[in-house]
């Protein structure tokens, strides 16, 4: 995947020139968060809800198809609130219409559908964030998601997270300690997701505003271990602090061997923490320790 946009001094992926399309805008969450995003200052140009064309939500025009919305308002970024069973169709419609950044907020999208979405996106040079993502926020410029805007503060720390609510938790504690954020991305909590830690790290590396990065991981899968592997040889100069949730979680009952064959003995909090420690990523023991570690890094 090649990333063309977001290289600059204003955070990554989205900024104040982002033209947003809301898919599923007439639904309960879609309309509510359209309101919140608008009041944050996000430039929403159109919405789509099949069969609801011609309506308005928060004075934003609604279309039946992405194609019509594209023709009249040329959005370059889309956010999906559509129900899980329609998410694949909606995402692929946006990709087909040339939209290059698509945030899927929808939870419970079937894995088989996600695989198809990501494959289609990769063939068309589009970036998928999610599914099950809280979205992206570049504080003060653009809020593309469901996060409470007021817990974020503009600054120079990039934040990448597998968890939605933990993103808010840690951003809030950073903001309280006067550590602002360049961009915060929730990459989604599903087993298969579009943009990963590594791709986000590369974007933050090229963003001159970002001085340090926070990674928020959790037990399960091997995203953290794979990221640590990448960092081993990446010559990554910006400091990274990580928090891994799930130290106290009970072990999962396993069935089948395939997971272990694919991932090896990965997945526990201890294993992820060790992997990060080995490549110089600082580990925060509690969410609030992230701010303490960052303060030390930024002050030296």
């Amino acid at each position: 995947m090649k990333f063309q946009r977001g290289v600059g001094n204003t955070g990554i992926l989205i900024d104040d020139s982002t033209r947003v399309l809301v898919q599923g805008i007439t639904g309960f969450q879609g309309s509510l968060h359209t309101k919140f995003m608008l009041s944050y200052g996000t430039k929403i140009v159109a919405g789509v809800s099949p069969g609801k064309g011609g309506q308005k939500v928060q004075s934003i025009p609604v279309f039946n198809t992405v194609k019509e919305a594209q023709k009249k308002h040329s959005p370059n970024t889309s956010i999906l609130f559509v129900p899980a069973r329609f998410a694949a169709k909606a995402a692929c419609e946006a990709i087909a219409c040339g939209i290059k950044t698509i945030v899927i907020v929808t939870e419970h999208v079937p894995i088989r559908d996600t695989i198809q979405i990501i494959y289609y996106a990769s063939k068309n040079g589009a970036i998928i964030v999610g599914p099950n993502s809280p979205g992206i926020i570049t504080p003060k410029s653009c809020k593309l998601g469901i996060m409470p805007g007021h817990v974020f503060k503009s600054g120079n720390v990039g934040l990448i997270s597998r968890s939605g609510t933990l993103t808010y938790e840690i951003a809030y504690s950073l903001s309280q300690k006067k550590i602002g954020q360049s961009t915060c991305i929730g990459i989604g909590g599903d087993p298969i997701i579009g943009i990963s830690f590594i791709e986000c790290l590369n974007l933050f590396r090229d963003d001159s505003k970002t001085k340090a990065i926070v990674l928020i991981g959790e037990i399960g899968g091997n995203l953290e271990e794979v990221t640590a592997d990448f960092l081993k040889n990446a010559n990554f100069s910006k400091p990274i602090v990580a928090y891994i949730a799930g130290r106290a979680a009970p072990a999962e009952k396993r069935m089948g061997h395939a997971g272990a064959i694919i991932r090896g003995q990965t997945g526990t909090a201890e294993h992820k923490i060790r992997a990060f420690n080995n490549v110089g990523v600082q580990i925060a023991e509690k969410p609030s320790d992230v701010a303490i570690l960052l303060r030390k890094i930024l002050d030296t």
Partner: protein, 381 residues
């Protein structure tokens, strides 16, 4: 959703994959007619949803009907790897010349399905994958093309097969991928898939996990996923029906949060400060007032719970909904268990106001709230 071996084998049979002849038994009284079609010796296999069954004594072998009855007595009702055996599958024991492994699962890093195959199948496959990584074939499946017959043949050839047996093995692989697509499979595993002296390939054991999020496309299994004695206890099933993820733990600090990551972090922090979580309860995103009330009732049902800690960071979830739910649960159930709330995010001002008016302890900092909850659990008011 994890399927029992006998359920997995039903699906395999429908797709032309051979499995041993067998009958499912769920009580001690073995009707002789039920096994008269089967040829001794038998494999008597407990049906539980966890790996490592054989090593834990969950699979026995018998050479007579009498011995089979003894095996049933041993297995039915026994606790194997912490699961109670409610059903036993009696199968003909198959003679074979070779054990293979074949599985398809999702690969998070490849963002696709991946085929895993090995000529060294059997219960030690995980160790084999560490000791002899060259004996494990891993191949991502192109999401557009699926698993074609020619790719399946290549895998079979790598396992050392040629001619007719290669063709029939490749057919097994292709059919298996068809099952993956038709049933929204997260994991399907034939281990071992054995080759018999007659050149047949027979799946002696099989594991299937269906993607929970796709159960709306498979209503038969959706219904079964709520059955008792499957993966969850009765409270967990009730919670699942209400769209909540509940897991009972051993401690005394009841925990409700929104979002798996935040709930995990809450467990971690409670543990960090010396408390013991009584449960994991994730409301998910955008829970309704009704769902939150149900969630509180689930946790408060647990007699071990000395304090309920509700930790909410509103995104889709609205803090005013949470506050309303808390107040109406407290009034409705006349519960005396203290409730400590942390609220932040969407509509937090309204939420906080409602709680304060009703004299419920509310915080905006998670650690302060945790420390307070632990104090309260020790009797400090």
């Amino acid at each position: 959703m994890k399927l029992f071996e006998y359920e997995a084998k039903c699906i395999l049979t429908n797709y032309g994959i051979l499995v041993p002849k067998g009958v499912l038994v769920n009580d001690h009284i073995l009707q002789n007619e039920s096994v008269k079609e089967l040829e001794l010796p038998f494999a008597v296999k407990s049906q539980i949803l966890v790996s490592g069954r054989q090593k834990a004594g969950g699979i026995l072998f018998s050479t007579s009907i009498e011995q089979t009855k003894e095996c049933l007595k041993t297995l039915l009702g026994a606790k194997i790897k912490n699961e109670i055996v409610g059903r036993v599958l009696i199968e003909e024991k198959i003679n074979f010349i070779k054990e293979l492994y074949f599985g398809i699962t999702i690969d998070r890093n490849q963002q696709s399905y991946v085929v895993i195959a090995s000529e060294m199948g059997g219960i030690d496959i995980e160790q084999t994958s560490i000791d002899f990584p060259q004996k494990i074939i891993k191949l991502p499946v192109n999401p557009n093309k699926g698993l074609s017959f020619s790719v399946a043949k290549k895998i079979g050839a790598k396992l050392g097969y040629t001619g007719i047996s290669l063709k029939s093995l490749a057919n097994v692989f292709v059919n298996l991928f068809q099952i993956v697509e038709d049933y929204d499979i997260e994991l399907i595993e034939l281990n071992p898939l054995v080759e018999t002296a007659h050149g047949n390939f027979v799946a002696l054991d099989s594991r299937i996990i269906i993607d929970d999020n796709a159960l709306f496309r498979h209503s038969e299994y959706r219904k079964k996923s709520f059955e008792l004695g499957r993966e969850l206890g009765s409270i967990e099933i009730e919670a699942k029906k209400a769209g909540l993820v509940y897991l009972k733990l051993d401690g005394e600090i009841g925990i409700i949060g929104n979002g798996a990551g935040l709930v995990l972090a809450t467990l971690d922090i409670v543990t960090y400060y010396g408390g013991k979580p009584a449960n994991f309860l994730d409301l998910g995103g955008g829970a309704s007032v009704e769902q939150i009330i149900l969630a509180m009732k689930f946790v408060l049902k647990d007699v071990q719970v000395k304090v309920l800690f509700v930790n909410i960071l509103g995104g889709l979830t609205r803090c005013d909904d949470v506050a309303h739910a808390i107040i109406s649960t407290i009034t409705e159930t006349k519960v005396t268990t203290p409730v400590i709330v942390r609220l932040l995010g969407t509509n937090e001002e309204q939420g906080r106001k409602i709680l304060i008016e009703n004299a419920v302890d509310v915080f905006d900092n998670m650690e302060e709230a945790t420390i307070r909850a632990l104090e309260v659990s020790k009797g400090c008011r």
